[in-house]
């Protein structure tokens, strides 16, 4: 407090102390790409096709293509329809996106021929409500879902197993982990795989690591899918990431060749944050990423700014651009795991608002992911939502009758699942000669909130054991054997069924998840058929009855009691 400052109003003092004013905001700087989606420096749409080859793309002649232009022109754009599609007025395509009389398939017939600048030109015409309308129709899978983060600040495998079981029970279709100490990865990935199958059969797990290690864990059947395969919208930043569209395409096929589901990751703001946006808007560059992913033949994309959300979050219209990038992924027929996965604001109101453009229309994965551990334990640097927000999320689903992929679960069920997951992991560790898990740790896991609530592990012994898991070439099959021999028949059977899925390849198709009865649900057998009011995915029946339940709901027949 200095006496030289002019006197502030009491109201200003209150506003100054509001959490939103701890957030960072900056002016636009289009010359450097610090602009969401409206920049005079973005190219104008154009295309010219000669002899079945794109020879001009968005004002650039083929001789001057950088590798993004080349890859998009040669792999993403349908040359047969491109000139006709780009010639359609942008306003007409934007209307197709929101017109319930135009089917998703009709839109795809046009969008497959569009250039990055043309797509930008289309979505620039749409306000955020129109973007949501478009998303409602263009999402590839009819049934929305959600993804959780299950990590531990101490990389404690018992915590990860118990939280995975609870997360699966609450409804996450996919669970993702990563590490503080990377060498812990094998033990934590095993814990996630075992715990997830306790909560509900068919949950898919992944462990975010450097590309080659991530693939290796997948090949061994210790994880079920992968998504941290980053791509970027400028050639220079792509090279900084030590990859090219061709190396990433090769990697995409490598995953599929092992039967492993995979999606790429990109997002607005990454190029400017990495220092070379080449003077283009964040959304234009993200659209290039989306089309690159499409051209690579990968089934889906995690986008929505992801770990760079602070950048679009700081500029005008930034969250509109983030909603638009999700829509673009869906409108070119990719699975979209739509962000909401990194903390970006101190304001609870702003955090909630940020998720509405994905939660209300529904996306393939509304969050990618939601922290199913307290944020202090979130090794992805904190998510936009965490365990403290479970009841709020469930209430919002009930208020608006929307399916955000989660549900309220009774305490006794949660405790039983957490306890079982910890015991199952205890048995697996014993079977594999890994450092023992004590009954005290199992008890702690049953009732814990965060990593602070567990006895400390012998980290050195764990790390040695983690190395031995790799050296001994432990596979998913060994986990099945361990579970079965210890009497966890149902968990063993669940895991075997997940592993068997890779033999069928069904989870490689667009937007595939496994239901609790192990039915693969993808854009092929659960295609989004939205055609206006009363059609498409509607929250109804048994699922709606589930979502009506909250922690405290007063009984109508006996107001003295609560139901649920």
């Amino acid at each position: 407090m200095t006496s030289t400052r002019p006197r502030q109003s009491l109201r200003t003092e209150i506003l100054e102390s509001r959490p939103v004013n701890l957030d960072g905001f900056v002016e636009e700087w289009p010359e450097k790409g610090l602009v969401a989606m409206e920049s005079d420096f973005d190219p104008a749409p154009s295309i010219r096709v000669q002899d079945g080859r794109v020879v001009e793309l968005d004002g650039t002649e083929r001789a001057d293509f950088d590798f993004m232009d080349t890859f998009i022109a040669d792999h993403a754009i349908d040359v047969a329809s491109a000139e006709a599609s780009v010639a359609i007025p942008s306003a007409e395509i934007a209307r197709m996106l929101i017109d319930p009389g135009v089917s998703r398939g009709d839109v795809l017939a046009v969008s497959r021929g569009l250039t990055p600048a043309k797509i930008l030109d289309v979505v620039k015409l749409m306000n955020v409500v129109e973007i949501m309308q478009g998303m409602q129709k263009m999402r590839a899978r009819r049934t929305p879902a959600n993804q959780g983060h299950s990590t531990s600040a101490r990389d404690n495998p018992i915590q990860v197993a118990a939280d995975a079981a609870e997360g699966a029970l609450r409804g996450f279709a996919e669970l993702e982990t990563t590490l503080g100490v990377v060498r812990y990865a094998p033990l934590v990935a095993i814990a996630l795989q075992v715990g997830g199958q306790v909560g509900r059969g068919g949950v898919l797990t992944q462990c975010a690591l450097e590309e080659a290690t991530e693939l290796e864990l997948g090949m061994r059947g210790i994880t079920a899918y992968a998504e941290t395969i980053s791509i970027y919208g400028t050639e220079s930043v792509f090279i900084d990431g030590d990859d090219t569209p061709w190396s990433k395409s090769f990697l995409a096929a490598a995953y599929a060749s092992r039967g492993i589901k995979m999606r790429f990751t990109s997002g607005t703001g990454s190029e400017v944050q990495m220092g070379n946006a080449e003077g283009k808007s964040m959304l234009y560059l993200e659209i290039r990423c989306i089309l690159m992913a499409k051209g690579a033949g990968v089934q889906g994309l995690q986008n929505g700014s992801i770990s760079c959300i602070g950048v679009p979050g700081a500029v005008p219209g930034g969250l509109r651009a983030v909603a638009a990038e999700n829509l673009v992924a869906s409108m070119v027929d990719l699975e979209c795991a739509s962000g909401n996965d990194q903390s970006f604001s101190h304001s609870a109101m702003r955090r909630t608002a940020r998720a509405m453009p994905q939660m209300l229309p529904g996306t393939d994965f509304v969050c990618s992911g939601y922290s199913s551990v307290p944020n202090a334990d979130n090794m992805f640097a904190g998510s936009n939502f965490d365990t403290d927000d479970f009841d709020d999320w469930n209430t919002i689903q009930r208020d608006f009758q929307v399916d955000g992929g989660l549900r309220h679960v009774r305490e006794d069920e949660i405790l039983a699942a957490r306890n079982k997951a910890a015991r199952a992991l205890q048995a697996v560790f014993a079977h594999l000669d890994l450092p023992s898990i004590t009954d005290d740790e199992v008890e702690a896991a049953t009732y814990a909130n965060s990593s602070n609530d567990y006895p400390l592990r012998d980290v050195l012994a764990d790390l040695k054991a983690a190395q031995s898991v790799m050296d001994r070439e432990v596979t998913g099959l060994d986990l099945v054997k361990a579970l079965e021999s210890a009497g966890f028949h149902d968990v063993a059977e669940n895991l075997l069924t997940v592993l068997r899925q890779r033999v069928s390849g069904d989870l490689l198709q667009t937007s595939a998840v496994l239901t609790a009865d192990f039915t693969p649900l993808s854009a092929i057998n659960d295609p989004n058929d939205y055609a206006g009011p009363g059609t498409g995915y509607r929250l109804s029946g048994e699922r709606w009855e589930q979502l009506k339940k909250l922690r405290h709901v007063t009984s109508a027949s006996n107001p003295e009691t609560e139901v649920g």
Binding site: I239, A254, G269, E484
Partner: protein, 182 residues
């Protein structure tokens, strides 16, 4: 069951694990129905039995094609070829395709190995296409020794340049206790 000519599939056959399990075999020749808990316990199953067969990837490619997803189908066809390549070599090939990791000759040799040793013409074509673009964009390794030692910054380590100072400062303010972009 007969492997003489592959069946013609459409979207109604999906999911194959439920609608057409009789078409699914492991690379070791077992039907998918043989992957039971009994066979796990008795030790009859090895990790090789839990891999996808190239024929299955071709079936999934058909389904992708029939669903209007030609790029996804092409990815599955590359993948079908890659099933023959050992894990470590797949990773090595991926690394060879990173920027400035290989010379033109090395990429040509890689394409030949794919085509000759692994009968992988679709993958070989992708490598040749990369080689052509890398040559044009200066992304081939320099033949002289040591020339490529500094090629490529590690992933996820963005350079802080004056260009991004304003943005990253804003982001850092919001992400005070948090960490790295990825």
């Amino acid at each position: 069951m007969t492997s003489a000519s592959p069946p013609t599939l459409n979207a109604a056959d999906y999911p194959l694990s439920i609608n057409r399990p009789e078409l699914l075999r492991t690379p070791t020749g077992k039907p998918i129905t043989a992957l039971t808990m009994d066979s796990v316990v008795s030790g009859d199953l090895s990790p090789a039995d839990l891999r996808i067969a190239p024929e299955t990837l071709q079936l999934q490619a058909q389904l992708a094609e029939a669903s209007g997803r030609p790029q996804l189908a092409a990815n599955f066809r590359r993948a079908a070829e890659m099933t023959a390549i050992p894990d470590q070599e797949v990773l090595a090939m991926y690394n060879a395709l990173r920027p400035r990791a290989s010379t033109a000759e090395q990429l040509a040799a890689l394409a030949e190995r794919l085509e000759g040793t692994y009968t992988a013409p679709v993958c070989a074509a992708l490598v040749r296409e990369a080689a052509e673009v890398y040559a044009r964009r200066g992304l081939l390794a320099r033949p002289e020794a040591g020339g490529d030692a500094d090629a490529g910054a590690p992933a996820g380590s963005p350079a802080a340049t004056p260009v991004t100072t304003a943005a990253t400062a804003a982001a850092a303010r919001a992400d005070r206790e948090e960490g790295q972009p990825a």
